[in-house]
Amino acid sequence: MKTNENKPAVSLDKETVSADTRESVSFGTRDKDFTKEPLCLSGRGVTRVFQTGKVTTVAVDHVDFDFHKGELISIVGESGSGKTTLSKMLLGLLEPTDGEIMFQGKPRDISTGAKKREYWKGIQAIFQDPFSSYNVFHKIDSVLLDCIDMRGGRNLPKEKKIEMMTEACGFVNLKFAELTNKYPFELSGGQMQRLMIARIFLLKPSILLADEPTSMIDACSRATILDMLLKLRDETGMTVIFITHDIGLAYYISDSVYIMEHGKFVESGKPDKVMLEPEAPYTKRLISDVPKIHEPWDLSTVDLLNYQS
């Protein structure tokens, strides 16, 4: 029912507007120069080649990178650029076929199972699809309890464990009391992703790798997730490696950006430089293809007849 009257039905008192500062995303370390910090993960000539029958695919092609402690790094690339393969190698789930990965300046050694487990105490991940990150046969409590176990708290009394889990859920705006004994598919996508962050809160790794954590989340809830991740980073000094195809997102949150195309890093540096003054042709094209608000979106440069898959 439309009315043309604009007489206010309710009075609005400016003072009663709740000023909830938690709504805005934290900014803590915006302009810090991270290159002065100690090295966390770095790589020289890291390569991964896949061989299936007669077909050879070079997923990651001799990449070099330097990630510093406490930094938030974004790796930006479209699908097929090799960013997922690179992330698996960084996590230690996949071995590079060539090149070296260094952890804290020294060559990373994860040759045995025990060494791998030691490494994983310091690096954790959040994946893109919240639905497939959970084992549907287990209740969500088991996910959090697992984290407590990993940190050596297996023999803690039950009340203490519940306290820890409630605190972790509270950090991500979830109520543990409401979620306990539920199965993952009873939660919404946003809630599941936030629970993954709660898991990280419990584990407090020194490196977090987030692979497209918000691409399956609504734009409205996206900010909440980002807020939580940044807060974690500020509180614990965690290094965050953010993998995304969303350039605007990468521009906003990162301290440094790496642009990836067909397995290679074509450009890297501070976001202001890479996004606003791109040098590599791929980067230029990528930035111009993104719809913007203040700058015009030039549709005339499209090559419509190119259809090869």
Binding site: L93, K121, F127, N135, H138
Partner: protein
């Protein structure tokens, strides 16, 4: 655990399938304790219809009780001259041209029928005139025997003589003398008759099903596949008749057919290996064993069980096929479902003697095993896939 059980029995389909299966299983397990007879023992001569068979000798030995059944006379008449025979009489009379419109095969008109018959039947006459439908020798013999029976006095005095010579004792048998079946030393209940060898079909059936179930339980990987069938036949015939035991048969069926299941389960596992929750498990430092049992197995459980069921059914069928071809396990050791089918076929159960009980229960049994297992698997949907639970 309790929750798990509740989920398992939640689906009505599962409960039905489970009930059928358990009933069969229990019968198979408990029956041998009651009937300890060797199933391969021939007790009848040729095919016997289902029914209860009571020894006449022992009936006469058992103590008698006096029972007055109101319908006793009728039953007696009925059994001496059953409806079938009365119809024959009517047909003969009609063929001879006698007016039979007032007659029928009922008990009330029985005496009338006999009267009319006695007036009109003469053996020589029947032979000479060759009435329609009764022209063959066999038919006329049948009529003659019928006539003789009619002449017997159904309530004639009967007595039984036991022993010979001087020590013979004679006891009169009255129409009202009955024996209690339980006291008769030898009686046998054959709900499914006997097969061609005279063996009790039911006992055989139980034994055959039971053994097959045993094999399924004990040998883990009995998977059968029809394409391996040719290989199977070749191996089997090469082995020779003596070594064809039931275990050998099962083992060979198993060896030639695990490939299909193994390959499909493997491809499922490979696709699961790269799922996020498995990766997260690895990152959480879980051991390989734990990842396999908690992150991979539950996801393929439904698939594996389904494969198992399909292969059990085809396993049974393959064995049956082999046996029917004569390549099955040694027939002198044990009966199997396939062997029973084989004998039925060989000895003309379905063609000449219409002894349906020799093969029909086998078919039903095979069908029921597959059906109940399938039903259980469908009903377990909610257990295998928790997202479907309400």
């Amino acid at each position: 655990m309790k929750n798990m059980l509740r989920n398992v029995f939640h689906s009505p389909r599962f409960v039905v399938g489970f009930t059928i299966f358990m009933v069969m299983l229990l019968t198979v397990l408990i029956y041998p304790y009651f009937i300890t007879r060797d199933p391969l023992l021939g007790i009848g001569k040729g095919f016997l219809e289902p029914g209860t068979y009571v020894s006449v000798y022992d009936t006469n030995n058992a103590g008698t009780y006096r029972v007055e059944l109101p319908e006793a006379n009728e039953n007696r008449l009925e059994s001496t001259i059953p409806v079938k025979d009365r119809q024959t009489m009517l047909d003969f009379l009609k063929a001879k041209g006698v007016d039979v419109s007032a007659l029928d095969t009922s008990n009330e008109k029985f005496h009338e029928l006999i009267e009319v018959w006695k007036e009109n039947y003469d053996e020589a006459d029947a032979k000479k005139n060759k009435y329609e439908g009764f022209s063959t020798q066999a038919k006329r013999n049948e009529l003659r025997r019928l006539n003789n029976r009619l002449s017997e006095d159904t309530s004639a005095a009967m007595s039984v003589t036991k022993g010979e010579g001087d020590s013979a004792t004679t006891t009169a048998v009255a129409g009202s003398d009955y024996v209690k079946v339980d006291e008769v030393a030898n009686s046998i209940n054959l709900p499914l008759g006997t097969d061609n060898f005279g063996r009790d079909t039911l006992t055989e059936l139980v034994k055959a099903t039971g053994i097959l179930d045993d094999i399924l339980m004990f040998i883990a990987n009995i998977f059968t596949v029809i394409p391996g069938f040719v290989l199977l036949i070749l191996i089997y015939s090469a082995l020779g008749a003596e070594s064809r035991g039931i275990v050998t048969c099962a083992v060979i069926i198993g060896i030639t057919s695990w490939v299909w299941t193994a390959r499909s389960v493997r491809s499922q596992v490979i696709s699961l290996r790269n799922r996020d929750h498995v990766n997260l498990s690895k990152l959480s430092g879980h051991s390989l064993f734990r990842i396999v049992t908690t992150d991979i197995l539950p996801y393929i459980a439904s698939y594996v069980v389904m494969a198992f069921i399909l292969q059990v059914s085809s396993g049974i069928l393959a064995e049956a096929q082999l046996s029917m071809l004569g390549l099955g396990p040694n027939p002198n050791e044990l009966p199997t479902l396939g062997l029973m089918m084989n004998w039925a076929k060989l000895f003309g159960a379905y063609t000449s003697s219409n002894a349906w009980w020799a093969y029909f229960p086998v078919i039903l049994m095979i069908a029921l095993i597959s059906f109940s297992l399938n039903l259980m698997n469908t009903g377990l949907d909610q257990v295998f896939n928790p997202t479907l639970r309400d």
